[in-house]
Symmetry: C2
Subunit: 189 residues, 2 copies
């Protein structure tokens, strides 16, 4: 049995990003990604179901958002719970050191229809994960749906803003601003 | 050259729905769908890019929503323009006579992961179409995104409510109620 590899998903994602940039998504194989990362094909498939998945980190993000909502104070209103989830994503996933890679990742995804499709479906999975987490807090179904939809939109906008800038902004701060902007826009009837 | 077939997309959709119910989505071929509809395979591919597309009416819905938003009075605020778009969908696509078929269609889609995926992507296309139509009215980008997201959510909720009921509700009425519910839920901060 292969021994456990530290940070294998991260190493595979970095290797995939480099190869997609160098020779294009279509012209890169899973074996090449694994080789570049110094890992085996079977390690790749232990972490990702297919080549399309390697830039999307499995279900990490959906889990972080659900945990962030669950961990919000009992008194937090739905949108405050969503803000907690966005903070958790900033703390656990979008460190300042990952910003440059995030910008490159966005460009690679934008250039490929298959990756754009997978990203869109992943985004829907994040909305569903937040909706379920809010319902588990006792938030009514429709309010859960709306707060999760607007939270997912804020996350997307925040990711674009954060990965596109070069100053020292913390992802959590950017995300909270985006959530306030989205809520304010929704209040214009 | 094949002569023009009246209502070919509708006939193909009905035939596909019957076959998916009878023998399952995976066990049905495009040729069988065309035969059941009394049409040819090439007619099928003139209207739909693949088997997955046949239950989704090409880009009709996205076009109806964009036209509905464009046709709203110049004074209409963003959410009023979205309500106009939902009315247009009710007038042009979701007639009372189509309700029973809509309920069957929902069951077939719910039972198949490929169809659920296509439906999810179609939903994102509707949001994008409404966002662009709102921006063309001069609505700011972020407000356009939020109004379109909430409009798409209202459309989805309205479709579920409308296709699940048996009373005489007009789709436009159901959709306007859903849009008000969604807006009210978004206002709970």
């Amino acid at each position: 049995m292969a021994r456990w590899q530290p940070n294998a998903p991260e190493r595979l994602a970095v290797a995939a990003l480099e190869l997609f940039e160098e020779r294009g998504y279509e012209n890169t194989t899973v074996i090449e990604i694994a080789e570049r990362a110094g890992l085996t094909k079977s390690t790749f498939f232990r972490h990702f179901q297919d080549k399309r998945e390697v830039l999307f980190g499995g279900d990490t993000m959906a889990g972080l958002l659900a945990e962030g909502i669950a961990a919000a104070p009992a008194t937090a209103k739905p949108f405050e719970a969503v803000a907690h989830a966005l903070d958790a994503v900033g703390r656990e996933a979008f460190h300042p050191a990952r910003r440059e890679m995030s910008a490159r990742r966005r460009e690679v995804i934008a250039a490929n229809p298959e990756l754009r499709e997978r990203e869109a479906l992943k985004g829907l999975g994040l909305t569903a994960s937040m909706t379920d987490a809010l319902k588990r807090r006792g938030v009514p179904e429709l309010t859960s749906c709306v707060a999760a939809e607007l939270g997912a939109l804020a996350l997307k906008i925040a990711y674009e803003r954060w990965s596109g800038t070069t100053d020292g902004d913390d992802f959590g701060d950017v995300a909270r601003r985006a959530l306030r902007d989205v809520q304010a826009a929704g209040a214009v009837h």
